[in-house]
Every structure is written in C-alpha cells, then in structure tokens.
C-alpha cells in the first residue's frame, strides 16, 4: 500500500503517521494523531509535559507499538517491531534521557549492536571513521573519550553521531535543549541546520515556545494527546498563538514582582565542600548568601553540584568542609530536624519519593513537619481530627484538587502533589525556603500557581533559594542569580544578563568575562 502522490508544491514526504492511537493503563497518550515530515525540514513537535510527544515519537522510532494507526516512510507502509527496524528504515531518535553506556568510549557506544566489526574491535580504524563523520556535521567530540568524562552537550553529540553512523535520514530529538546552556543550544541549532542542508529531516520536540520559533520550519502542536495544530508553517504564528494551541486558553506571560528591599542575611553558606554518591568532589568551595525577602536563583546545567548543595543545606548530606548558617546558627552536621525547627523549608527535586510519602494520605503528608507540635500533637499521640481539619484548610487555601484528604498522595497529579508539598513547607512560615526545580514537569497553569506562591513568600519576608534549570523561570522570579559550574560558583548576576549567565554555565568565571570586556 502506498499513499497518494505528494503535493508538487512541497518537498517529498519522508514520514507520514496516520491516526496513531497509543494507550497506557488509564491514559490515552495519543488520540488519533496525524503527523507528516518533509525532506530537509525541521519540524517542531510542541506540547506541554504529558501531552504525548515522547510517546508519539517512541512509536515512530519503534520503541512502542501503536494500538492503532499506520506509519509510512517514503510512501511505503512500514511496521516497526523494535528500534532496530526503525533505524533500518532511516529513522533514529535521540532520547530525552541519553541512552549511553557511561563506562564505555564514544566509539564503543556508537558501535554497539552493529554487525561490523564482526569480532575483534580494531578500535583505531573506527576511531578514525567516527572522527570523520563528526567532522562532516560539526559534531566535535573525541572518539576515545569515555562517556562519563564528557559534558552533557558532548554526550548529546554522541547520541546524534550514533544515529548518523547508522545512516539515519530522519533524526528525532526529544527535548534536546533541556540539558544545555544557552551557547550550547546555539551550537546545536547550527548542527541541526547543517544536517538539513545535507538532506536530513529533523523532528524537534520541545515545550519551549521561543526555541520552536527560533528553529522550526513547521510545527505540530499536541495537547492532551490530540493534535491542535497540524504541520503549520511557522511564518505567521506568534508565540501567543502557539501558547493558546498548547494550553487551550489564553496564557499571561508576565508575573508581577513587587520591588522590595531585602532584609537581613538569613542563609549563609561558607566555603562548602561535599562529595557526590560516587565519592567524587561535587562541591568545591561554594559560598553564597540569601537575605530575607529576596529570591536568589541558582543557575547551572544539571549535575554541577546543585543536588548536593540542596542536600547539604537540607541536612541530608554531610559536607566534607565548610558550613551552613541559618540566622547565624550552624545547621551543618546536625540532625535534619534541627534545621526544620530553625525554619528551613525544603521543596526537593524528586517530589514523589523525597518530597512525599506516596502511599500515605494527603493529611499524613501535610502534617509531617507539624505532628510533634500543638495543635496536631496531643501529648504522645497525634490528634487526627486536628490533622484532618488542618489538611482541609490547606486543601482550600492551596487549591489542592483531590476527592478527600484521605486520598493517597501517589494518586495526585504532579501539580497537585507539588501544591501539597508547598502547603506543608510554606504553612510553617519558613524563614528560609529552598526550592529545587519546583515547576519541573508541571503544566503551564500549575507552573503559574507555584510561581505565585513563591513570590508571595518573598513578600512575606522569607529568604528563598531557587534552584532551576529553566533560565526563564530564574530570570522572572529572582532578585539575583548565582551560577554554579562543577561545584564552584562562577559569579553572581543582578541584571539578568543572559549572555553572562550562559558563559558562566559553561565554565567561564565572571571575573574573566568582565576582564575580557574591559581589555
């Protein structure tokens, strides 16, 4: 079976997906989705988290099998049983989470699963071959390096090389910019353009409007598993249009942040050193301060020590050197509860396992930091009636949408669960609040809600340290921004200069940037 002849005005169709349906237990992830890709174009697939973008592309790349629908490649009906089938048809996917073996070299990762070499690896021969391919597409990376030695940007290049080496004509990039610093994003875009010039076609998955506007020729928008815009040319679409198609309603783009003078220093981190889980240095002399009534952002590419810093401040990790002071009292090397009693609020990155107890009720989850004190505590026991009353109040105040407060936390959507955690942490009136990726994975409406709550805490005089990988979020919420790179603070920015932040995120200290400007 072949599909009707191409419209002569367009370049040839390389991929066409028709009526794709994919169900997961309890979720209709793709609801009769149509998608088409022209040769040589960059086609953006836009949608909020959970819209079904990755699912659709996992179907195209052979990882999932669709429950219904058909896929045509170059006009031929195909059926993919595995990613191997898809790559044989010229379709390769770079996943959101990289699929690389950290202990192996770049070359080994690229050769995995291929029939050539047959038995002996002859690595030198293949190192050279891969270096040539990398050259052709401007994907600079050392074929002999082990994956764990590479930056995230380099690892991404390895993933792209892996697909090109297998002869991919269609490259699917699943949220490729999420892990990159601004300058690296520019580099990636150049690579993508050079690939389309050499006849490749690219599907670019994203939930970020400005990237899609910057790179795509056409866009398909998904919302709750359905197509709300099918392959529309980017020309003539505004960011506002796209946002409406994504969310299904008008979206306000700006948050109101009142000008406000910060107060006393609340949090003081002094020359902090700590190791990561592997025992390697993760923090190498971090010093910073946060004052009452200000939001301080911590920018950085994931894995540069943010997690360890948050864990040390939250009391979950022992530093090897240095200390953390809260209103002048040292909280490092003390039990976690010591910090809590001094007014530390902590919104952890992993809300399902660290931030909440998934099998306990909403009530149990909100009283976790209060059950030792009146009115929840009554002598040695917990007053469950008071607890329920409190949970009901918080449910109202924080717009937690849940049938009853006895519902287990694991049944809540991401946004609602995050509100439960915020309710618990904020209702303690913390002197200091540590928010780690508080909006990650939430939909636009929920993001707005969380951001408003953080701003309200700022107005109420809390000192807030906001760790985020979303630069836009940091820029719109923070009074000043520190940038962390390989466990060191590269500098501090007050004017939201995105260029400087980007340079620091890739390892240039602020003094060097400013030194360069003055020279």
């Amino acid at each position: 079976m072949t599909h009707p002849p191409d419209n002569p005005e367009h370049p040839p169709l390389v991929v066409e997906m028709r009526g794709i349906v994919k169900r997961f237990p309890g979720v209709l992830a793709n609801d009769h989705v149509d998608f088409s890709l022209y040769k040589g174009e960059i086609h953006a697939l836009l949608g909020e988290n959970g819209a079904g973008k990755s699912t659709l592309m996992n179907v195209l790349s052979g990882l999932y099998r669709a429950d219904e629908g058909q896929i045509f490649v170059n006009g031929q009906l195909v059926e993919f049983r595995s990613p191997r089938d898809a790559i044989r048809a010229g379709i390769g996917m770079v996943h959101q989470h990289f699929m690389l073996v950290p202990s192996q070299t770049v070359t080994e990762n690229i050769l995995l699963g291929l029939d050539d070499p047959r038995f002996l690896l002859h690595l030198n021969h293949y190192h050279r071959k891969i270096a040539e391919l990398a050259e052709q597409f401007g994907l600079h990376v050392d074929p002999r390096a082990k994956i764990w030695q590479l930056s995230v940007g380099e690892q991404q290049r390895v993933e792209i090389l892996k697909m090109l080496y297998r002869g991919a004509q269609v490259l699917i990039m699943d949220e490729p910019t999420a892990v990159l610093a601004p300058q690296e994003i520019e580099g990636l875009f150049e690579t993508l353009r050079s690939m389309t010039e050499q006849g490749k076609s690219i599907i670019f998955i994203s939930h970020k409007l400005q990237e899609v506007t910057a790179i795509a020729d056409r866009v398909t928008v998904l919302s709750k598993g359905r197509v709300t815009a099918a392959g529309q040319p980017m020309a003539g679409l505004t960011r506002r249009d796209l946002a409406r198609l994504m969310v299904g309603r008008e979206v306000v783009f700006s948050l109101e942040k009142k000008p406000q003078e910060p107060g006393e220093v609340v949090l003081e981190v002094e020359d902090l050193h700590a190791e990561n889980d592997k025992g390697l240095p993760a923090l190498q002399g971090v010093s910073l301060t946060v004052r009452a009534g200000e939001i301080v952002g911590l920018a950085g590419v994931a894995g540069n020590g943010q997690r360890e810093l948050a864990q040390v401040i939250g009391g979950l990790r022992k530093p090897t050197k240095g200390r953390v002071l809260l209103n002048g009292v040292e909280v490092t090397r003390k039990p976690v509860r010591f910090g809590i009693d001094l007014g530390v609020g902590y919104i952890p990155e992993d809300r399902t396992h660290v931030g909440s107890a998934p099998n306990l009720s909403v009530t149990d989850n909100v009283i976790m930091k209060k059950y030792r004190k009146e009115p929840i505590a009554r002598g040695w026991s917990v007053d469950m009636q008071a607890a329920t009353r409190l949970a009901e109040e918080l449910k109202e105040a924080y717009d937690i949408i849940v049938p009853t407060v006895e519902t287990p936390a694991r049944l809540l959507s991401g946004g609602n669960l995050q509100r439960v955690i915020l309710a618990r942490e904020i209702s303690n009136n913390p002197a200091f609040l540590l928010a780690m990726q508080p909006t990650r994975g939430l939909d636009v409406g929920a993001i707005e809600g969380v951001q408003r709550l953080l701003l309200a805490q700022r107005e109420a005089g809390a000192a807030i340290l906001l760790v985020s990988e979303e630069l836009e979020e940091l820029l719109s919420l923070s009074d000043r921004i520190y940038v962390i790179y390989e466990g060191r603070i590269m500098g501090e920015v007050r004017d939201g200069d995105i260029e400087k932040i980007g340079l620091m995120m890739t390892g240039t200290p602020l003094e060097e940037i400013e030194g360069g400007e003055n020279a």
């Binding site: 996992n58 990882l63 999932y64 595995s82 990613p83 191997r84 996943h95 989470h97 699929m99 690389l100 073996v101 950290p102 202990s103 192996q104 080994e108 990762n109 050769l111 995995l112 699963g113 291929l114 070499p117 047959r118 038995f119 002996l120 690896l121 690595l123 892996k162 889980d277 592997k278 025992g279």
Partner: protein, 322 residues
C-alpha cells in the same frame, strides 16, 4: 616447610577459585549476581567424579560437570531474568538446591575407590625458569595450565571484542543496549550459563585433579563463597581475579601447612602447639569473604569499585524513564 611446594600447591588450589571467579565475573558483568556458585561447584564436583567412576574417562566427567552446573544455572537465569525476581534470594536458593542435589546424587560415591584423574605434567623449558618454573610449570595439572590460558582470553574477550563490548553494555546500561537491538535477556541467560559452566569446571577440577574424591559438602568447603567475594575484590576484572585466586589458593595451603612443623623460623611454632590458633587461621578466608560481601553490598562502595551499574537489577523493557 618448603616454600616452593606451598606456592606450587597454592597455584593448583587457586585454579579452582580462578574458574569459579571467572565464571561469576561473566555473569555479573552481564548484570546478574549469582550467589549459587557454591551449589553449582558441588554439582560439578559430584557429577565429574561420578561420571569418571562410571566411564573411567575423566574428560567425560569434566564435560558432564560443566553441562550439569550450566543447566542448574539456568534455573537462576529463569527466575531472575524472565521472572525478574530478587537475585540474592534466588542465588541463595540455588546454593541450597545444588548442595542438596549433590549430596543425594553423590550418596555412596565417597567409597567409590580410585578413579582415573586428569593428567599432570611439566612444561619443557618453562619449568626451568628459576623460581617461576617450579611454582607454575612443574608437575601441575592440565587444569592449572588451562587457567593460564583462560585468564588472558577472558580479559581480551571482555575488553576488546564485539561480544565482550555487548556483555559490558548489558551489565552497565541494559536500556541503551536494548534500543540498539542487543537482546538483553538472551545475553544474560548466556552469561549466567557461562558462569555455571565455569563453576562446574571448578568443581570438576577439585574432584578429579586438585584434591581428588567426593567428600560431600566438604569437597568445596565454601570455596564458591570465596569466589563470590573475590569478584568484588577483583573489581570484576579477570586478571585481578586470577591474581586474587592464586593468592588465596596459596594462603589456603599455607594455613594448612603452617600447622605441620614444630618450629617456624627457629621459633617454636604456636600453630603446632595450639590447634585453636590453627582453627582461627582456617577461618580467615571465610571472614574475608563475609567482610567483602558485606562491604560490597553497599551501594556507595560498589559504585566506587566500579561494579556493573545494572548489577542485581532486573531489566524490564519499556519501563518509565526510557
């Protein structure tokens, strides 16, 4: 005490540990921890001896031992790879099963009398190298020489061949291997089988070469557990595994022999006059194993030693996060 003789016997006894350790390295590099080594060795030792008694051909015994232990290992593969059950529990159960089976099937075997054993010989020229010659190349069993060949082969295979690369990938990041069309399940079954066969070979090496005969569970006397500990100690590397095996083999001999003479280096030998000291010495290899296993079960230590990242974890295709 003749040190050359002790070292020579140590290399022989280390060969048993070597086979079992290499086998376990293969299984663990693919991501499957198999604590059934002791049970598989016993099955190997028993079936090797029993077949050699029946057929008079020790080589037949070796072959059957490897197949029998290999088959036994597939129970573990089925439980952990296909049914995705806990590898520790299944491995322990395998040791109980192997031990029990070998005791029942080996009933009466200890009185079987003499059998034809695997041959021992010296290597011309090499045996004349001072020090090394007498220790490594004189009057050693054919299995010892096989061990010398197997170690570099295993090392080369794992690090420099395509199947070795796939083996490492499956143990480090099975999802990545899977997306590239590598059959994770099939490889894990295969390397658990390889591990079983080598454990069987280790068992046969005891009963038909190093300390011939069938002495029920005392035949292996916990060497399977030492091998499991050695794998961690060796950081999953065949060459380090070989060094560890020979060192431990020599220590085992030394501990036995040190209790013999009345004087040690011109002093009265305390191990001769006080047998309890000897018992204490005999305990040491096992104490080492317990300590290594306890330490090695800690996530942080394992990461630092470079354990295969997916060791102990069942692979479930299409899990969230893919």
């Amino acid at each position: 005490m003749d040190w050359i003789v002790i070292l020579q016997a140590g290399v022989a006894s280390g060969t048993v540990l070597l086979f079992a350790t290499l086998g376990e390295i293969f299984a663990e590099r693919s991501g499957v921890l198999n604590l059934g080594v002791e049970g598989m060795m016993l099955i190997g030792a028993m079936s090797a001896f029993s077949v050699a008694v029946k057929t008079g051909d020790p080589w037949m015994g070796v072959l059957v031992a490897m197949l029998a232990a290999g088959l036994l290992s597939q129970i573990h593969a089925f439980i952990t790879v296909t049914l995705q059950a806990d590898q520790v529990v299944s491995g322990l159960a395998l040791t109980f099963l192997g031990t029990g089976l070998s005791l029942v099937l080996g009933e009466g075997l200890s009185k079987a009398g003499t059998v034809a054993l695997l041959p021992a010989f010296s290597i011309p020229l090499l045996s004349r190298i001072p020090l090394l010659g007498p220790v490594f190349f004189t009057d050693q069993n054919v299995m010892v020489y096989l061990g010398y060949l197997l170690t570099p082969m295993a090392w080369y295979y794992i690090n420099y061949t395509r199947p070795g690369m796939h083996l490492r990938a499956v143990g480090e990041h099975p999802a990545a291997a899977d997306t590239l069309g590598i059959n994770v399940y099939r490889l894990r079954y295969f390397y658990v089988f390889v591990g079983g066969m080598l454990a069987g070979l280790a068992g046969a090496t005891i009963s038909l070469a190093i300390s011939p005969g069938w002495f029920s569970e005392l035949t292996t006397a916990g060497q399977g557990w030492i091998a499991v500990g050695l794998v961690i100690f060796a950081q999953w590397d065949p060459v380090r595994g070989a060094i560890g095996s020979y060192v431990f083999g020599a220590l085992r001999r030394l501990i036995l022999d040190i209790q013999g003479p009345q004087t040690l280096l011109w002093f009265a030998n305390p191990f001769y006059y006080n047998p309890y000291w000897g018992f204490f010495l005999q305990m040491l290899p096992y104490a080492f194993t317990v300590i290594v296993l306890v330490l090695g079960s800690r996530e942080a230590v394992r990461k630092r030693l470079g354990a295969p990242a997916a060791l102990g974890l069942p692979y479930i295709r299409g899990e969230r996060g893919l």
